[in-house]
């Protein structure tokens, strides 16, 4: 028996060794962002051109109490107590939100977009129920945050943040209330302090504006958003960065500005974007123009196409008249050699897709369950703005220019898609390695989004322009490698995207920032 026990010990020893060898750390390392004092305080930002506010002073903000007032002295005393010693959770919240208000709320919006980016399932009758904003958590959840929806949510978020921050900057430099720790040096601060006046608080402005927009865009997330906002607000006290009156003034301003921005959202045509009764007429017109075979859904049961009237949504940086100019030139006829050539390219890739082609297709796929291509480019923009140590207002400007360009890209692309109603390669027996979006092929959405983003970001960050251009080109061809777009879809999309980006640049040049 003893020998058996020894053997058993031996076996356990082997298992133990194996366990030690493999119990390596499985936690996921993500790049961490931390706070900084901005490279420039952008003290003239109060004069920058706003999108929806008529001016930075449209919304009045009351003058703060003097730093010598008993009220402010009491606020300082309260802040001193709240920031004196922090729990681990409070410290983590301070570091998290300290990375930047615009940065974090953009990230939160992308995460919501990803969580809601799933097309409805068909029901027992073979129908696809339409998500219901009044019942957002039922199946299917509202919204289906597809690329046009995500581009729009992020555009309004960024515009509201920008307009609110321009107004905030105006009042900051009008009232010039210094940071609490500059008035009372004994206040313990957990983040870098700049010379930017703290009344109203830029964090509170951004949080309130963001939550107002995101509650409307993701109505099932109201409790989540309120909890995030509460934490963000408190983190400013824990960090010793803002007194209560800085925050109150910021929240009030952010709420009012965002409500104004939502006024545009309610009348921008989105409510009619999913008007499915228009498609028969669209197909008829495309056929009159010579289309031999119209796009049909490749799903079973046939799924109604995504947002067929999104092309009629109100653009930001160009007019409705420009929309026709931006529309792509007609695609090759389905019996033309040009079509045959690009279809054959896909057939060849399908037979022998290289691993590198698959990698590129997967990297840029940003399909169901992701934050979509507009989210991808928002992430890039937020990261480069963070790395450039931009102030909150400058990062908001970057994201507003990008965000409006991305929504504009969706509008022109969807206009071309339903104007031409062009069939996908899958109607000619091509498969896909990334999943097939349910709308017409011409032009490529990824190419349009990426062309617009690279143009805008290349203007804002000229030293990285070449990188952005290469990324956009790769994003564009990724749809060929993933087998869901002809090369001519991608080329036309990239071109239209570049033109859309130029409209945003024209605005940037005229917004008074001098940047």
């Amino acid at each position: 028996m003893k020998i058996y026990i020894n053997r058993l010990k031996g076996a356990i020893g082997v298992f133990a060794t194996v366990a030690v060898l493999t119990s390596c750390d499985k936690t996921i390392e993500e790049p961490q962002r931390v706070g900084y004092a901005p490279a420039s305080v952008d003290e003239k930002a109060g004069s920058w051109k706003t999108y929806q506010l008529t001016s930075a002073t449209e919304i009045a903000v009351a003058a703060p109490k003097a730093v010598s007032s008993p009220e402010y002295v009491a606020e300082l005393a309260s802040l001193k107590q709240k920031s004196a010693s922090l729990t681990k959770e409070q410290q983590e919240a301070v570091v998290y939100w300290g990375a930047g208000a615009v940065y974090r709320w953009n990230e939160i919006a992308r995460e919501l977009a990803a969580r809601y980016n799933i097309p409805p399932a068909y029901n027992a009758e073979g129908k696809y129920p339409v998500p219901d904003a009044a019942n957002p958590l039922a199946d299917p959840k509202f919204p289906f945050a597809n690329p046009p929806y995500a581009s729009r949510a992020l555009a309004y978020l960024s515009v509201a943040q920008y307009d609110a921050l321009v107004a905030a900057w105006n009042y900051k430099y009008q009232f010039k209330r210094a940071a609490p720790s500059k008035t009372d040096a004994t206040i313990r601060v957990a983040l870098p302090v700049s010379s930017i006046p703290t009344y109203p608080s830029e964090d509170a402005v951004v949080a309130a504006a963001s939550v107002t927009i995101l509650k409307a865009m993701f109505p099932g997330e109201v409790p989540y958003l309120e909890a995030r906002m509460k934490e963000h607000r408190e983190s400013r006290l824990w960090a010793g960065m803002n007194v209560e009156s800085d925050l109150v003034a910021g929240v009030d301003l952010g709420n009012v500005v965002a409500a104004k921005v939502m006024g545009r959202a309610r009348t921008d045509g989105m409510a009619a974007a999913n008007n499915q009764t228009l498609t028969a007429g669209m197909i008829e017109k495309a056929k009159e123009r010579g289309l031999r075979e119209a796009w049909v859904s490749q799903e079973l049961p046939l799924r109604p196409p995504m947002l067929p009237n999104y092309g009629a949504v109100l653009p930001w940086n160009y007019t409705k008249a420009d929309l026709e100019k931006l529309r792509a030139v007609p695609p090759p006829a389905l019996d033309s050699p040009a079509f045959q050539k690009d279809l054959e390219e896909l057939q060849t890739i399908q037979k022998n897709q290289t691993r590198e082609q698959a990698r590129i297709a997967n990297y840029w796929a940003d399909g169901a369950g992701s934050y979509t291509p507009p989210g991808h480019w928002h992430r890039t923009a937020a990261n480069v703005s963070h790395e450039a140590r931009h102030s909150e207002v400058r990062m908001a400007r970057t994201l507003a220019l990008l965000g409006t360009a991305e929504m504009d890209a969706a509008i022109t692309c969807w206009d071309s898609k339903y104007y031409y109603y062009y069939p996908r390669p899958q109607q000619f027996k091509v498969k896909t390695s990334v999943g097939l979006p349910n709308f017409p092929s011409y032009t490529s959405g990824h190419s349009t989004f990426s062309g617009a983003a690279a143009t805008v970001l290349g203007y804002l960050f000229p030293d990285q322009a070449e990188t952005f251009t290469k990324q956009a080109q790769e994003a564009s061809v990724s749809r060929i490698y993933g087998l869901i777009h002809y090369r001519f879809d991608c080329e036309a999309g990239l071109k239209a995207g570049n033109e859309v980006g130029n409209y945003a640049i024209a605005r940037a040049k005229a917004d008074g920032s001098g940047l």
Binding site: I28, E30, R110, E111, A114, P301, D366, G369, S370, T432
Partner: protein, 296 residues
């Protein structure tokens, strides 16, 4: 009981010789210096799958099929220590929809099987296993991907009782599987209800337990088996979304295994059917193999 044994016997193909081919979960050993190579073909299909706990079909997948061919040598180092290796080539396809089938060499697996004790028909065995991805396949294009790209290490204990006269045996095993994190082509993905801004994915560890009842004779073997496998944790397939490597995949499978090896050459076959699961297809699978035994 007698009828059940009869059923087991009848379900095997009768032959004469020495039954030798072995698996990482059985109590069979190659004697020192002998090698048995199995060349196998397997096919697994499903039309229904569990989207989290919702059992459903998908008209854009139709019937999903995974096939593989595999070489699996078992080598007798000593009479009580064996090495088993396997390397499958796998390919996938669907009967509907437009997802591109994937194909390629999957993972090289190896097991060391050691008999700890043997007394009065009762035996206890320890198996240490490891696997390494060989092919550079895409791991997160599920359900078309041919594997998950994990490096794994496993530890298994097997308890076996074999009635010396009849060859009737009862076998139970439990396994714990450590799985490494993997890299995916994208640099952001959704799991556990949040977005991870990285290309690194944490794949949950897994465990399984099995129970087998069969008859092992010199020239043949027949067995009924049931297995339960699960991840230690993990998220689930979201409504109408695709599976992902972080999912807590669970399955209860029942099946039959049989083998006939009259001399050096033999055949084996295995069928399995998933009766219950989470985040997996309800697959019906079969494997057939040719066995070749030789001594070094």
């Amino acid at each position: 009981m007698k009828n059940f044994i009869k059923l087991l016997v009848v379900s095997a193909v009768l032959a004469v010789g020495e039954g030798k081919a072995q698996m990482p979960h059985d109590a069979i050993y190659m004697s020192k210096g002998s090698v048995c190579v199995a060349a196998m073909y397997g096919k697994s299909t499903w039309t229904d799958y569990w989207e989290n706990s919702l059992k459903r079909s998908n008209s854009n997948i139709g019937r999903h099929t995974t096939q593989n061919v595999m070489l699996m040598p078992a080598i007798g180092i000593t009479n009580r220590l064996n090495v088993i290796l396997s390397l499958p080539y796998v390919w996938t396809e669907t009967s509907a929809g437009n997802l591109l089938g994937q194909k390629g060499l999957q993972d090289l697996s190896g097991w060391l099987k050691y008999r700890i004790l043997k007394t009065h028909g009762f035996s206890l065995h320890a198996v240490a296993g490891a696997s390494l991805p060989v092919g550079n396949y895409v791991p997160d294009f599920l359900p078309m991907s041919i594997g998950l790209q994990c490096r794994t290490v496993s530890g298994r204990l097997i308890a076996n009782y074999k009635h010396p006269k009849t060859g009737l045996y009862l076998n139970a095993h439990g396994t714990y599987l450590w799985r490494s994190n993997i890299k995916v082509d994208r640099d952001a993905y959704q799991a556990d209800g949040r977005v991870y801004n990285t290309d690194e994915v944490s794949v949950p560890n897994a465990y399984d337990a099995g129970l087998r009842l069969g008859i092992l004779r010199k020239k043949w073997q027949t067995e009924f088996w049931a297995e339960r496998s699960s991840c230690t944790h993990g998220d689930y397939i979201r409504r109408h979304d695709m599976p992902f490597p972080t999912n807590n995949m669970q399955a209860t499978t029942v099946g039959w295994y049989g083998k006939v090896q009259p001399k050096n050459i033999g055949v084996n076959a295995r069928v399995g059917y998933v009766t219950d699961g989470r985040n997996v297809g309800q697959s019906t699978s079969f494997t057939v193999g040719v066995l070749y035994l030789f001594t070094l």
